[in-house]
């Protein structure tokens, strides 16, 4: 073939040869430049000029014609490549750069050339090459690169762990969240077998993947994932086949969403609900006593009043005594009932509002006083904060205070220091409510675990009271702390003050 072409060209006259060459160059849409390195004059052919929208007849045949049209950002690179070739470091010169078209737009040029003449001493004197308009190719490449970048960004920022596998169960792609969820630190995973070093992954999805390759999708709303040495997490996942344009299965798409936060939140809400119910049950038992004693007094006094009214001469003093006793005890029962109503309200959905401190203490006292007194535990209250307005929810604040009082009660009942003091004072913009008891307090080795769920030193304790109390206290910017430096056992609840009007 080559020989045929060579003999064909050899047999042509120089004129005919040039004519053939022109035709070939026309067809290939190549523009020719021929640079005289001795005076920096450059011969550009017709096509070279047309490519740039220039009129060949009026175009100056100098290097300036080219260099002034090259994009300033690309020009340095051109000279670097040119010098490299002139110095003999490359066999050909090749560079893609942007050039200004006469109509003002930028076009991309594939520029190629090589030394075409040297001095006897070997110094290059001529440099000849071609221009090829690659604007369309460059544009396509740019669009592809943009799409690729967008896709990479999308995958990288997905909040869901996503992995795409091929038919051989090798990674085609994986989102950063996926790598993070499965502790795949040796990026990139592309091309690596699925679950290569992660047996836990394999165990979870081996069957769903096989099913997906058969065309069947599987998913689960909530799976608890236990990996040895790591915290349990909860996952919502989906494994399904992905299909090529022709509809055939190309591999498997796995999505793995970490729903641990949501699950933990739900469990905490359940725990809070359960402690509230447990507290209510505890008080229901105690309250039966608190209500039954006043009822007994009221019944007795009513019988006495009836007898007094049946006498021929009315004993006004005895009757007045009965009415007074009924009044006092009925008010006490009403206070208990009111406190119970506050305590039983599910305030989780309520916005924080103004809560008066004094009634909060009254409610706590109504629910505890008689029960504590019957067990020989002295409860005193000292409100040095006055009638301030707290920011919170009365049922939750009452819940926290009762929890502290009950803990204190358990600590001191049947001891010879059976006293509890509930006090409040203002400090800055915070009301400090302290529950102090005569007990030894919390042992140093237990302090750091004090507010963690399910930690308890009580035989029948649930270990959730304090942790729930703390989360309730912190909900609106408050705090709940144990004060180890205090002389006797002291828990301190800080509650922000309610600010009237817009802040």
């Amino acid at each position: 073939m080559q020989n045929t072409l060579k003999s064909f060209l050899d047999n042509l006259s120089p004129e005919a040869l040039i004519e053939r060459l022109k035709l070939a160059l026309d067809g290939s849409r190549l523009g020719i430049w021929d640079w005289d390195l001795t005076d920096n004059s450059v011969q550009f052919d017709q096509r070279w000029c047309e490519m740039l929208g220039l009129d060949h007849a009026t175009t100056p045949m100098t290097l300036e014609t080219w260099s002034s049209r090259v994009h300033p950002d690309d020009l340095d690179r051109c000279y670097v490549d040119i010098k490299a070739h002139l110095a003999g470091r490359t066999t050909t010169y090749e560079n893609v750069h942007r050039m200004r078209h006469a109509d003002g737009r930028w076009i991309s040029i594939l520029d190629r050339g090589r030394i075409s003449g040297r001095n006897p001493d070997g110094t290059p004197v001529r440099f000849t090459g071609t221009h090829f308009d690659v604007t369309a190719i460059e544009e396509a490449r740019r669009v592809l690169a943009t799409h690729d970048e967008q896709l990479q960004t999308l995958v990288a920022n997905l909040t869901t762990g996503v992995a795409m596998l091929d038919l051989e169960r090798r990674y085609l792609a994986a989102s950063s969240r996926w790598l993070q969820l499965h502790h795949l630190t040796e990026a990139p995973v592309t091309g690596r077998p699925f679950a290569e070093k992660t047996p836990a992954l394999k165990a979870r999805w081996l069957e769903p993947i096989e099913r997906a390759l058969q065309g069947e999708a599987s998913h689960d709303e909530e799976t608890c994932v236990q990996v040895p040495g790591r915290d349990a997490r909860w996952s919502r996942w989906d494994v399904r086949p992905w299909r090529r344009v022709d509809g055939t299965i190309g591999g498997v798409l796995i999505s793995d969403e970490d729903i641990t936060t949501a699950v933990l939140q739900r469990e905490r809400a359940e725990r809070e609900r359960n402690t509230r119910l447990a507290a209510l049950a505890l008080f229901a038992g105690g309250v039966a006593h608190e209500i039954n004693t006043p009822l007994q007094v009221i019944l007795n006094e009513a019988a006495l009043a009836r007898s007094a009214l049946a006498e021929p001469t009315l004993d006004r003093i005895a009757l007045a005594e009965s009415v007074s006793a009924i009044d006092v005890t009925a008010r006490r029962a009403a206070a208990i009932s009111r406190a119970l109503r506050t305590l039983s309200r599910d305030a989780r959905e309520d916005p924080p509002s103004a809560v008066t401190l004094a009634p909060l203490f009254d409610d706590a006292m109504a629910l505890c006083r008689s029960r504590f007194a019957s067990a020989g535990v002295t409860l005193t209250v000292e409100n040095r904060a006055g009638d301030v307005l707290l920011l919170g929810r009365s049922s939750e604040l009452l819940h926290v205070v009762l929890n502290l009082l009950n803990n204190a009660f358990d600590a001191v009942v049947n001891t010879n220091h059976a006293w509890i003091r509930l006090e409040a004072e203002l400090k800055g913009g915070t009301a400090l409510v302290r529950c102090i008891d005569g007990g030894r307090g919390v042992a140093p080795e237990h302090r750091h675990k004090l507010m963690t769920p399910f930690f308890t030193t009580k035989r029948h304790g649930t270990g959730i009271g304090l942790s729930v109390s703390r989360s309730l206290a912190e909900r609106d910017g408050g705090f709940l702390n144990y004060r180890p430096e205090a002389m006797t056992s002291t828990f301190e609840l800080g509650v922000p003050l309610y600010q009237a009007g817009p802040p």
Partner: protein, 118 residues
């Protein structure tokens, strides 16, 4: 009702003790009061009673502890517990020697039946 029936009322709630005392006196009974088990034991050591009406939970000494000590002394004075708590075990308190375990509040008819049964 036996005239001059002597009743000891034991409860840490003054209003309750007072109203029971007035009711019983109106029915011809002689009453005395104690605010806890310890005080009741002291009274029972020097005086005799036909009936002890006793609360269960009280500071210093509760009802069941007081009854246990009373029976250990050989004192068989009839004792009726009046409890406001739902969780007090009737069975256990009867085993200690309580004649009855009644839940507060009791109505006046029940009190009358109780007194006439003595």
């Amino acid at each position: 009702l036996k005239p001059g029936l002597r009743v000891l009322l034991v409860d840490d709630e003054p209003l309750l003790v007072r109203s029971f005392a007035r009711l019983l006196r109106a029915r011809g009974a002689v009453t005395d009061t104690a605010e806890n088990g310890q005080a009741a034991l002291e009274k029972l050591a020097t005086q005799s009673f036909d009936l002890v009406l006793c609360d269960v939970r009280m500071p210093v000494m509760d009802g069941p502890s007081m009854l246990t000590e009373l029976r250990q002394r050989g004192d068989q004075t009839p004792l009726v517990f009046l409890t406001g708590y739902a969780d007090s075990s009737e069975h256990e308190m009867k085993a200690l020697g309580a004649r009855e375990v009644l839940g507060k509040p009791i109505d006046i008819e029940m009190l009358d039946r109780l007194l006439s049964s003595l």
